[in-house]
Symmetry: C2
Subunit: 259 residues, 2 copies
């Protein structure tokens, strides 16, 4: 079972879009996939067609401390989506409270990890959608996962932010004492521009083999699909957005041989 | 003197791009403009061609409490930019410390406002670039300004985030006890898509007259200009990005008659 966090403290760099569409693409390739929505904005939950406020059981219940009356096991909050093989542990705005309530709890970075461990799940992949911050929710995701995909839009400031995020991940690896494989995915790319060529060169130099070959092109079908609450391959299977994520899934699956 | 905060807690919605290019467009229309960079990421500073880490005097010094040896007056940190009429109070990563150090200081939401008041400045416009959060830095900007422009990318989730942000602004108006004129600017717009039409209709209904007529189209020249550290009208004056921001400046200037 591969557990992959989709992270970047920067906002609007296609973390959610990647969670949903890489998840759906892996499901399309007959992998059993769970998406865990760790963002109080609940965009993965919304983008899969659900209304977050209608849930009274969400991932927050799994993060509750052991003695809390609201605590639930992960299996009690997982729901199927309209896509075969694709499941969701939803979020809603109540998750925002976790940032404050967990802050002084012993073992607070480990609640998601221990929830996943106890659950003894049978998924091939767990993808964790992170909020745009380095708070306790992202820390829980980084502790619970074995691989992290950093999504990055190839614009000028992207590299500056990444170096800082990498430092944090480095610190976490030391503190969390577990190995973490870091990958980088270029997203929302205007591949025919000079800016793209300049920035990608710099990203390649910095990340080498950790950079996915697949680049996700900017394609409005991806935004439109999310607004309709479906993965892009169900909304417009022939779009470049669908093709890009299906190719990414193939590349991710190839790595299975080494895991 | 009009003091305008450019704000939205969501990341990557063209706050910085708007600060720089609306600022340059107003300067182009013979207005004397100061941009205050309130983001520890210092993207306005970078986008105007400066290296944030080379500054030892930044807006942070203005936010220092009165007895601090590091405290400076706003006039001591303002620098000219390469664009005539356009000035900058720069930021750098040290500003990140402010979120923690100010947290328990008396009058902590008022340091920027009182810094501006004391400075007795002669600008026509002060534009304040905010970080993607609702922390003490954004609160200082909202307290210091009289108008706020919320930038919004016309994608599905944009409206959901905005309602929450508006609630917060409403609460602030009550707590801060000053009037705040709220405007909305649609940015990074793919104007020929169905998604655009659907979302804009919803934005219009919600905001009415507070929505600027000018819509900023998605245009790679805007991203390229920033990577070269210049406003877009210096990088590619005939681009749609330049045209859009020049039109926005005209619309903003028209409001001068009512101020
Ligand atoms: N390849 C793409 N082409 C066009 N639009 C895209 C693409 N990827 C994402 N988007 C759009 O860009 C916006 C931001 O994407 P998304 O919400 O996935 O980013 P995020 O990193 O999860 O943001 P947040 O930090 O707020 O969680 C969304 O409106 C999404 O539909
Ligand atoms: N109209 C536009 N067309 C194309 N690209 C744009 C446009 N406006 C902004 N961008 C690009 O989108 C990215 C995000 O813009 P920007 O940095 O201004 O957003 P922001 O809201 O200030 O982000 P943050 O929350 O990180 O401060 C940048 O790479 C910028 O160059
Ligand atoms: Mg997201
Ligand atoms: Mg910015």
């Amino acid at each position: 079972m591969r557990i992959i966090a989709i992270a970047n403290q920067k906002g609007g760099v296609a973390k959610t879009t990647t969670c949903i569409n890489l998840g759906a693409s892996l499901a399309y390739h007959a992998r059993k996939v769970l998406i865990i929505d760790m963002d109080p904005q609940a965009h993965s939950t919304l983008g899969l067609g659900f209304e977050p406020d209608e849930f009274d059981r969400t991932i927050l219940n799994v993060l509750e401390p052991p003695r809390s009356p609201y605590r639930l096991e992960l299996k009690e909050v997982i729901i199927p989506t309209r896509t075969p093989n694709l499941y969701l542990a939803p979020a809603n705005i109540d998750l925002a409270g976790a940032e404050y309530r967990l802050i002084d709890k012993l073992g607070r970075e480990d609640f998601l990890n221990s929830g996943i461990q106890r659950a003894n799940l049978s998924f091939d992949y767990i993808l964790i959608d992170c909020p745009p911050s380095l708070g306790i929710l992202t820390v829980n995701a980084l502790k619970a996962c074995r691989e992290v995909i950093i999504t990055i839009q190839p614009h000028y400031f992207a590299m500056r932010g990444i170096e800082e995020f990498m430092e944090t991940i480095g610190l976490m690896k030391e503190n969390l004492k577990h190995d973490l494989e870091v990958y980088v995915l270029i997203t929302i790319a205007d591949v025919r521009t000079n800016l793209y060529r300049e920035v990608v060169e710099e990203i390649k130099k910095y990340f080498g083999d950790h950079l996915f070959e697949t680049v996700i092109h900017r394609n409005i079908s991806l935004a439109e699909a999310t607004s309709h609450g479906v993965p892009v391959m169900e909304y417009e299977p022939s779009s470049s957005g669908a093709q890009c994520y299906l190719n990414l899934a193939k590349e991710v699956i190839k790595l299975e041989e080494e895991k």
